[in-house]
């Protein structure tokens, strides 16, 4: 199950969705907004996406994970819009018969989501400036403090 949503991520619902009588293990990963990045303070993040492609890339990742691990249930959710400090922007949850597979699959899914799913994060710094996060780009422009 794959979802892009503007709403807060509800973990009880996710763990209920993935728990299965065939599976003895559930692993849930949440990516949450951190207050400090390299010593700079974040007030909030906003996420934007290329929604149809993000949806289809997440569906492909679920399919690939299911072909690699004996997954019972799988939930991939990315929140869009504003995600304040301490709240979750992404959730990955899988159930498998045994725990090693659940850890491996959830970790792999999260790595691939960060590599492949067209979603972008904008930092809203406590200084008032904002900045798109584009990993590996040599020159990132920052609103208000153009470098």
């Amino acid at each position: 199950m794959v979802e892009l949503t503007d709403n807060p991520i509800c973990t009880d619902q996710i763990t209920a969705q993935v728990t299965s009588p065939q599976c003895g293990a559930v692993v849930l990963f949440l990516g949450t907004t951190r207050q400090l990045t390299d010593g700079r303070e974040t007030v909030t993040l906003t996420y934007t996406s290329y929604a149809p492609m993000a949806q289809s890339e997440m569906e492909k990742l679920e399919d690939q994970a299911r072909s690699r691990w004996p997954i019972g249930e799988c939930v991939l959710i990315h929140r869009l819009g504003e995600v304040p400090v301490g709240q979750a922007s992404v959730a990955v949850a899988v159930s498998t018969p045994h725990r090693r597979d659940a850890f491996e699959a959830a970790s792999w899914l999260m790595d691939r989501i960060k590599e492949l799913v067209p979603v972008w994060k904008k930092e809203h710094w406590a200084t008032g400036s904002t900045q798109w996060v584009h990993p590996g780009m040599t020159k990132n422009l920052e609103d208000g403090t153009l470098q």
Binding site: Y50, V117, V119, W120, N140
Partner: protein, 81 residues
Amino acid sequence: MIIRIKLFALAQDLAGAEEVTLDVAPGATIETVREALANQVPELKSMLVSCAFAINNEYATTSSPVEPEDEIACLPPVSGG
């Protein structure tokens, strides 16, 4: 032929537009599109080398051909999660 390129995140901000229309020769590839986009929107020039492209919601390679009816997207390095 006329093609339209969707822009996102910093690319959208720098171009000041969600979409850019380009006129490219028939047989154009993603590489052609990248060059034409850099020429038409010079603000994007320095970041385009870091951008991926998608055709109809699938990642494309530099040699992938484009057609007028394709949905083409310029994707700056992603930062979800």
